[in-house]
Each structure stands twice: as structure tokens, then as C-alpha cells.
Symmetry: C2
Subunit: 231 residues, 2 copies
């Protein structure tokens, strides 16, 4: 590439990275707020999370447009092209993480305020926190091309999976003992599953970062709590 | 592009379309077999579906490689480039559809054979069939660039959503009345949710096809049964 083209390309890559960082920050905030809305039964905050997801989707569309523009105008070579395509994959994963947070928020108004349901709800925030931290670290690993941090995210996925399996068992037991809460607990089961999937997707991002930084794929591993019998 | 480049490009696009068709066929078969395995409590068939998902993932990786190669070697112009990037997006959706079928299959061995559970299981195959047909039609619409067929898929998504809402209510009622089946019914709830998501993803493919064929986006609509209160 000519020098001015390289400069323009670098600027576009910086813009791409900036958009991904903004998208990641919004997805993290969406997870935190969705969990807070659930704990406090705050329907207004839940509605904010749902509304805020539109901005996350819009950033994804902007990244796609920018990627097509960069490829069309700069015709990047193999390595740069792979980086640009990787950006496209990462934003699609972050968009899904945003969707999971939105889905959690959407269930908040479906869960009737009932003091009996507070006990099973209390299982979820710490699980949500671990998953949110994984998203945070996976995106930091991407920004810094930090293979060690990426690896640490991948290793933490079993924590979320173990959490999920334990929540699943506890919720089923609670439902058996409190049949009147079954409908609400079913929503909590889905929320737990959404958090578990957020952990999986943070792991996917971390695996892409690890591969990009080291050229090596991590050993094949079974992903997600769905892989193990949950009960 | 020079004439021989155009010919090579067309051949690569044909290969891309062939891979997507194969991937779609495998995803459809995975949905059918997962539902069959559930109905028959056939753990061997369920294990086949789980194993077969690896081939779907491998085709996705092949498509990605081919797309990067096509872009790097042929430097396609705006419209062609958009088509190639669309192929990348469609395979990532089909890969997710395959994952949902795999997740359904993985739950089969977790559902204890129990004649009492046969009643709620019987709700699911027709829902699975509608979702499977949507996947089939969405991929046919893609192969034929058929906007009308794509639109018909999008319109059918409400059928799957209504199915899901009805299954959710029926399962919750069944759990209240048969607390001993709660653990199995929780797996059925997740299976119903997976089918509903398959319908959503077939709809996403159909929307992309509609946009590529007409240049128009469909009116913004709320997607997924998660958008409506389910109970």
C-alpha cells in the first residue's frame, strides 16, 4: 500500500477498534443493569436495557459498513484482511451478548413481585457478575491482543457452567417445594441459561483473540453447561 | 475484472453457494433427527446429531476460508463484495441453527423415560416441523434469490412464537400438577425455546435474502416470543 493509504487504513482500523470498545462497554453495562433490574424488580431500568440494545445493534451495522468500505477501498493483504474479518465476527458475538442481556431485562416484568421468589432470585447476581467480568476481560484482551488474559477468560468459563448447574438444581428443587412459583422460576431458569450463554460467548471472543495473538487454537473442549448433564 | 478472473470468481461463488446448501441440508436433517430422537427416546440417534454438528462447524470454517480467499484474490467490487459478506453472515446463522438442534439432542439422554412425560413431549414435534420448514424455505429463498418465499418465511415466524407461548403455558401447568416431572419438563421448556430460536434464525436468513433481492428492509418488527409476555 502507498504511505497515505497505510495511514488511512490505520485510521480506519482505529475507528473499528473504537466502535468495538464502545459496543463492548454497552454490552457490559446492559448485563449489569439487567441483573440490577431483576434484583430490585425495577421495570423502568429493565425497559432502559431493552431500549439501549438498539444502539448496540446500530454499532454492529456501522462496523459492517466500515468493514466493507475498508476492504473495498484498501484491498488489505492476507493478515490485515483476516483482522478485519475477525472484527466482523467479534461484533456479531458482542451483539448476541447484548441480546442475552436484553432477554434477561424483558423477563423482569414477567416475574411477579412475590417475596417467596426473592430467595431463588438471589442466586443469580453473582453468576451475572462473573459472566460480566468475562465479557470485560475478553474485550480488554482483544484491545491489547493479550493472549494470557484471553486464556484466563477461557479457563473461567467452567465457573459459570458450574454456577449454572447448581442454579438449575436449586431452582428445580425450589419449584417442587413451591409449585405456586413454577411460572416465575421457569423465567429464572431461562435467565440463568442466558447468563451461562453470555459466559460461552465471552469465551468465544477470548478464543478468537488467543488464536489471533498466538496462531494456535486452544485444545478442543466441550463448551457450555449443555454439554454436561445438568441434573 | 479480466474475463478469466470473472470465470474463476463465478466458480468460487458457485462453490460458496454449494457449501451453504450442504450446510443447510445438514442443519435441517439435524432438526428432524433431534425431534425424532426426543419422541423415540433414542439416545443413539441423539448422539449422531451431536456428532454430526462437527461437520456443520467444519463447513462454516471452510466457507470463511473461501470468503477470505475470494476477497484477497479477486478484490470483488461493491455489490459482489456485499454478496460475499452476506454469505459469511448466513453461514454463521446456519451454524447457530445447527447448535440449537445439537442442544436439543443433548437433552434427550437427560430426560428419563417415564410414561408420564410422554404427554408434554407430544407438544413439540409439530413445533419442530414448522421451524424445520422455515429453515428449508429460507435457504431455498437464498439459493433462488426469491423475495416472495423469503417474505413467507418471515410471516410464518409468528406461528412458531404462538406455538412456543402455548407450549410454555401448557408445560408450566403440567409441572404444577405433576411436580415429580419438573426436572424433565424444565428440559422440555429449553427444547421449546431452542425450536423457537431456530424459527427466529430462519427469519433472520429470510430477512437478509429479502434485503439482498429487493434492496428494501422489512418494517421493523419485534422478533421472538421473548418479546411478548409468555404467560
Amino acid at each position: 500500500m502507498a504511505e497515505h493509504t497505510i495511514k488511512a487504513f490505520d485510521e480506519e482500523i482505529d475507528r473499528l477498534r473504537g466502535l468495538i470498545a464502545e459496543m463492548g462497554g454497552r454490552a457490559e453495562a446492559a448485563i449489569e443493569n439487567a441483573m440490577l433490574a431483576l434484583q430490585r424488580q425495577d421495570k423502568v431500568l429493565a425497559a432502559d436495557v431493552v431500549e439501549g440494545d438498539k444502539r448496540i445493534d446500530a454499532i454492529e451495522a456501522e462496523v459492517e459498513k466500515l468493514v466493507i468500505q475498508v476492504i473495498a477501498l484498501r484491498a488489505p493483504m492476507a493478515n490485515d484482511l483476516r483482522d478485519v474479518i475477525a472484527a466482523l465476527k467479534i461484533v456479531s458475538v458482542v451483539e448476541r451478548i447484548g441480546d442475552y442481556a436484553k432477554n434477561i431485562a424483558k423477563r423482569v416484568p414477567l416475574i411477579a413481585t412475590n417475596t417467596r421468589i426473592l430467595e431463588p432470585i438471589s442466586l443469580l447476581p453473582s453468576m451475572g457478575q462473573v459472566a460480566g467480568e468475562m465479557v470485560h476481560d475478553a474485550l480488554n484482551a482483544f484491545a491489547a491482543r493479550d493472549a494470557d488474559l484471553a486464556l484466563a477468560v477461557v479457563e473461567r468459563d467452567t465457573v459459570v457452567d458450574d454456577f449454572y448447574n447448581s442454579v438449575f438444581r436449586t431452582l428445580v428443587t425450589f419449584m417442587v417445594e413451591n409449585p405456586k412459583t413454577i411460572s416465575e422460576c421457569a423465567h429464572l431458569l431461562f435467565i440463568a441459561k442466558n447468563i451461562e450463554r453470555i459466559g460461552d460467548h465471552a469465551t468465544n471472543v477470548a478464543e478468537m483473540v488467543y488464536y489471533a495473538a498466538t496462531g494456535q487454537t486452544l485444545p478442543e473442549r466441550e463448551r457450555g453447561a449443555d454439554m454436561q448433564p445438568e441434573d
